[in-house]
């Protein structure tokens, strides 16, 4: 039944937003994980979304799902802080903090949860439509 396509599409959107929310949670949770070198410190992670066009013969006319193309680590430099008394401090007395921007992450979280809700609404409406179709002619 082709009508179940809507469920697949909204489901793929929800899946993508869940991955994004997970990464936001990971970034916020690790915002204060300090390290003694710039290479080892946690880096902010972001998903890359793309429209799924594989297995589609007529790409221009097909409704496309969302896919996660990959997860990238932020290239922004780690925050260096002079804290000679810190147990993790390197030989020069510096500690390194992750490049997580918590304001950005909060905005990201709100956007992801709104988009997730939007997909749920689509799913509910599609479900109602299908249930009414099943009752056709009764």
């Amino acid at each position: 039944m082709s009508s179940l396509n809507i469920f697949d599409i909204a489901g793929s959107g929800m899946n993508a937003q869940t991955v994004r929310l997970n990464l936001v949670a990971s970034n916020i949770a690790n915002a204060n994980s300090v390290s003694s070198s710039a290479g080892d410190v946690y880096k902010s992670r972001q998903p890359v979304f793309g429209a799924e066009l594989k297995n589609v013969i007529d790409a221009q006319n097909a409704a496309s799902k969302v896919e996660i193309r990959g997860i990238v680590e932020s290239k922004a430099p780690a925050v260096m802080e002079y804290a000679p008394n810190h147990p993790m401090a390197d030989k020069d007395g510096y500690i390194f903090k992750p490049n997580v921007n918590s304001v950005e992450e909060m905005a990201n979280m709100m956007s992801a949860s709104r988009s997730y809700q939007n997909n749920i609404e689509v799913l509910n409406t599609a479900k109602q439509m299908m249930l009414q179709t099943l009752k056709m002619g009764q």
Binding site: I6, A63, N118
Partner: protein
């Protein structure tokens, strides 16, 4: 005299199929609201309906490998939406517009469904001869 369901139901089943297809496309727009460079699309409904209801010449299949169009109305090309406001990542989905179109579309789907239901009731009362 045989009862022809196709003649009795008119264009409503075709409308239903088109509405369903459009719902799918609008759902895809909303699912891809955060996808960079995704362009929102929509079905030109009146053109699609015209194509679906008038007889059209389909391509002849002369070899086994030729594609058969799944449904004739799929020949209607999707159009890209002109956004009111552009975004930096090249995405042209505007969620409020898509939501409104989706709601409109599902209401029209239900209307087509009601018409078909009504037709079935008419046929039933014609068959039983009771009002």
């Amino acid at each position: 005299m045989a009862i022809s369901f196709n003649a009795a139901l008119g264009s409503s089943p075709m409308m239903l199929a088109l509405r369903e297809k459009r719902g799918e496309i609008l759902a895809a727009n909303m699912a891809n609201a955060d996808t960079p460079n995704f362009k929102a699309r929509d079905l030109d409904f009146s053109t699609a309906l015209k194509q679906a209801t008038t007889e059209q010449t389909l391509l002849a299949h002369t070899q086994a490998g030729h594609f058969a169009p799944e449904m004739p109305f799929l020949g209607a090309r999707l159009k890209y939406r002109n956004p009111n406001q552009v975004s930096l990542d090249g995405n042209t989905v505007e969620e409020h517009i898509e939501q409104a179109k989706f709601a409109e579309n599902s209401l029209q789907y239900q209307a087509s469904l009601q018409f078909i239901g009504g037709k079935f009731n008419e046929l039933r009362s014609a068959l039983t001869g009771q009002v």
